[in-house]
C-alpha cells in the first residue's frame, strides 16, 4: 500500500501568540515550531500499516515554507521512506486552496491511502482531510481513534457526541487521526542517520486564488482579574454565595 501522510509545521502548543505589525498574521519572533501533534498519530499509523503488510511505502508531504524540512526530516528519522515539500511562503490558513494544492499533487503519485492529523493546531480548521477526500473521490473517515486493517478493509472508530461510530471503508481512502489512536514512536540515532540518505523533493507551489481573505487577527480581551475567596474547605460557603449572588451561576 502506498501511503501519503500530510503534515504541518505549527507553532509549539506552549507558545504565547503575538500579532505581527500587519495585524493579519502572527509575529514569529521567539516562537518555536514543531510537528503538528495530531500528525504524529498519522505518521505512526502509516508506519504500522506498512509493517503489518510487510510492503508498500510511506511518503510525507507538507505545504509550507523552507523551514518545514526540519519536520519532514523528523518524520524520515522515525521511519518514513521519502519526503516532499510543496514549497510556498503563503500561510496556508485557507482550507480550499490548501486542499486543492495537496489534491493536485497527490494525483501525480501512486497513493492508496492518505493519513492526516485531525486538525492543525494553528488554524484549527479540522476540514482538510474531508475536503481532500471529496476532491480526490476517495472514501473518508475523520477523527479516528481506533483503526484495524483486515483483508483490505479498514474498520475505524470515531467519537461522535455521546457515542462512537464504527465505519468501514476500502482504499483509496483518506483517514484523519485523533489522539488516542496509537502511541507515536520517536526517532533514534540510527533513524536520524538513515534519514540523511532518504529522498527529499522540493516542489515550488503556487496556492490558487483564496476563497477567504483575512481581515484581521486579534488577541482576545484579557479576562478581568478574579479573586481568591479564601483557604481550605472553610471557604466553600463564601464560594457558593459568590457563585449565586455575583456570577448568578447557580
Amino acid at each position: 500500500m502506498d501511503i501519503v501522510v500530510c503534515i504541518k509545521r505549527v507553532p509549539a502548543t506552549d507558545s504565547a501568540i503575538k500579532i505581527a505589525a500587519d495585524g493579519k498574521s502572527i509575529d514569529p519572533t521567539g516562537v518555536q515550531f514543531e510537528l503538528n501533534a495530531y500528525d504524529e498519530y498519522a505518521l505512526e499509523q502509516a508506519l504500522r500499516i506498512k509493517e503489518q503488510l510487510g510492503a508498500g511505502s510511506v511518503t510525507i508531504v507538507t505545504l509550507g515554507p523552507k523551514e518545514s524540512k526540519k519536520q519532514l526530516d523528523d518524520c524520515l528519522a522515525r521511519g518514513a521512506d521519502k519526503s516532499v515539500l510543496l514549497l510556498t511562503t503563503d500561510w496556508a490558513y485557507d482550507g480550499a486552496s490548501t486542499a486543492a494544492a495537496l489534491a493536485a499533487w497527490i494525483k501525480t503519485v501512486p497513493c492508496n491511502l492518505v493519513l492526516c492529523g485531525r486538525q492543525a493546531v494553528d488554524s484549527d480548521n479540522n476540514q482538510l482531510p474531508a475536503n481532500l477526500a471529496a476532491r480526490l473521490g476517495f472514501a473518508c473517515v475523520t477523527e479516528v481513534q481506533k483503526l484495524v486493517l483486515e483483508n483490505g478493509v479498514f474498520t475505524a472508530e470515531r467519537d461522535i457526541e455521546g457515542a462512537r461510530e464504527v465505519v468501514t471503508c476500502k482504499t483509496p481512502a483518506v483517514i484523519s487521526c485523533n489522539k488516542g489512536l496509537n502511541e507515536p514512536r520517536y526517532a533514534n540515532l540510527k533513524g536520524i542517520m538513515a534519514a540523511k540518505k532518504k529522498p527529499f523533493v522540493e516542489v515550488p507551489t503556487q496556492l490558487g486564488p483564496r476563497a477567504m481573505e483575512i481581515v484581521s487577527l486579534t488577541l482576545p480581551a484579557a479576562r478581568a482579574a478574579g479573586r481568591i475567596i479564601g483557604t481550605g474547605a472553610d471557604a466553600v460557603p463564601a464560594l457558593i454565595a459568590a457563585l449565586r449572588n455575583e456570577a448568578k451561576a447557580l
Binding site: 493546531v121 475536503n131 477526500a133 473517515v141 461510530e165 476563497a211 487577527l217 483557604t231
Partner: protein
C-alpha cells in the same frame, strides 16, 4: 431571492440542538443579505425532525429521506446536499461544528468548489460579502475573514448562538434519498456508557488535573459533577492526566483536546498551562481550586480557593447538592 442553506443534523430521528443554533446564525445573515433560509435534513423517517425544523423560523425545509440514508454517510450526504445547494443557487451553506459537521461540510464545500471557514463564533454580511470570526491557536487569537468566493461555507461552534424556535411552520418538501454504493459505511453506533453528558454540551464542566495525585481520586470530581443532577455537569481532564493514562482523551480540555465554553467551569488541581487555558478561557465563570496560590490558573479564574482539593472538593460537593436540592 437567494437562499441560505442550513444543513440540519438528524440522529435517531431527532434534529440536534446545535442545528437550531445554526438557524439563528442563518436568519441573521438572511436578514442582512435579503435571503431566505432553507434547512436541509438527510436521513430515514424525517417527519418528526422536519416538523421541528418547520417551527424554527426557517422559511423552507427540504427532507432527503430514504432507507439508504438511515445512517450517516459523508460521501452520499455530501453529494445529495451539494446538488440541492446548486439547484437553490445557495449564497451561503452553514452547519454546526459537530462530529458530523466537521466531516460533512468540508466535502460539500469541495463539491461546490468554494472555500470553507470552520468553528465560527460570529457571522456577518457587510458590503456585499459574507464574513466570520473564528478562534485560532485554540483561542489564543481570533481571526476575522471575508469570503471572496461563493457560496460562503461556515461551520458554527455549538453553544454560541441561542437555538431558533417559535416559527409558525414552514413548507416541508420531500425528496427521495438516492441509492447507490457508499464509499464508507457506518456499521454500528455504540452509545457511551451511563448516558454521560457530552463535554461540549454540558452547562457545568468539572476538570481535574495532576493535583488529584492518583487516577482513583477522580471519584471526587465525578461526585461533584453528579451533585449538579443528571445531564448538567461533565467531567474533564488536563493534558497531563490524559497523557498519564488516568482519563480518556475524550475528556481532555485544551489545545490538543476540546475547547469548551460552558456557563460554569471548575479547574481542580490544574496549574493552568497555556495549552489548558486556551481550551477554557471563554467559560463564563471560572472557579479554581489549587494548593499553590501562585498557580497561573488563578489569573483567569473569577473565584479561587487555595488549599487541599481532597478537603475542599467533598465540602463543595455537599454544598452544591444542598443548593440543587433546594432549587
Amino acid at each position: 431571492m437567494s437562499n441560505i442553506v442550513v444543513i440540519a443534523e438528524v440522529r435517531g430521528g431527532v434534529c440536534k440542538r446545535p442545528s437550531f443554533e445554526v438557524i439563528t446564525a442563518a436568519l441573521q445573515l438572511a436578514a442582512a443579505s435579503g435571503a431566505k433560509v432553507t434547512a436541509i435534513a438527510c436521513g430515514a423517517g424525517l417527519d418528526a425532525a422536519c416538523a421541528e425544523l418547520g417551527k424554527s423560523g426557517a422559511h423552507k425545509v427540504l427532507a432527503i429521506d430514504g432507507a439508504s440514508f438511515a445512517n450517516y454517510s459523508g460521501d452520499a450526504y455530501a453529494k445529495a446536499i451539494a446538488d440541492q445547494c446548486k439547484a437553490l443557487a445557495a449564497s451561503a451553506v452553514l452547519m454546526a461544528h459537530t462530529a458530523m459537521g466537521k466531516d460533512l461540510l468540508p466535502r460539500v464545500s469541495a463539491l461546490l468548489d468554494t472555500g470553507i471557514i470552520t468553528d465560527v463564533v460570529a457571522v456577518s454580511f457587510e458590503g456585499g460579502a459574507f464574513g466570520a470570526k473564528k478562534p485560532v491557536f485554540a483561542g489564543k487569537a481570533t481571526m476575522t475573514v471575508r469570503a471572496t468566493k461563493s457560496p460562503f461555507c461556515a461551520s458554527v461552534r455549538p453553544n454560541n448562538f441561542p437555538a431558533a424556535g417559535g416559527g409558525s411552520g414552514a413548507e416541508v418538501q420531500k425528496l427521495a434519498a438516492p441509492g447507490g454504493d457508499l464509499l464508507a459505511v457506518v456499521k454500528e453506533i455504540i452509545a457511551a456508557a451511563g448516558g454521560k453528558t457530552p463535554l461540549q454540551e454540558a452547562k457545568v464542566v468539572i476538570a481535574g488535573g495532576r493535583g488529584m495525585k492518583e487516577p482513583q481520586h477522580f471519584k471526587l470530581i465525578e461526585d461533584l459533577a453528579a451533585a449538579f443532577g443528571p445531564g448538567v455537569a461533565a467531567v474533564a481532564a488536563s493534558r497531563a492526566v490524559v497523557d498519564a493514562g488516568w482519563r480518556p482523551h475524550s475528556e481532555q480540555v485544551g489545545q490538543t483536546g476540546k475547547v469548551v465554553s460552558p456557563p460554569l467551569y471548575f479547574a481542580i488541581g490544574i496549574s493552568g498551562a497555556i495549552q489548558h487555558l486556551a481550551g477554557m478561557r471563554t467559560a463564563r465563570t471560572i472557579v479554581a481550586i489549587n494548593k499553590d496560590a501562585d498557580a497561573p490558573i488563578f489569573k483567569v479564574a473569577d473565584f479561587g480557593i487555595v488549599g487541599d482539593a481532597f478537603e475542599i472538593v467533598p465540602a463543595l460537593t455537599k454544598a452544591i447538592a444542598e443548593v440543587v436540592k433546594n432549587k
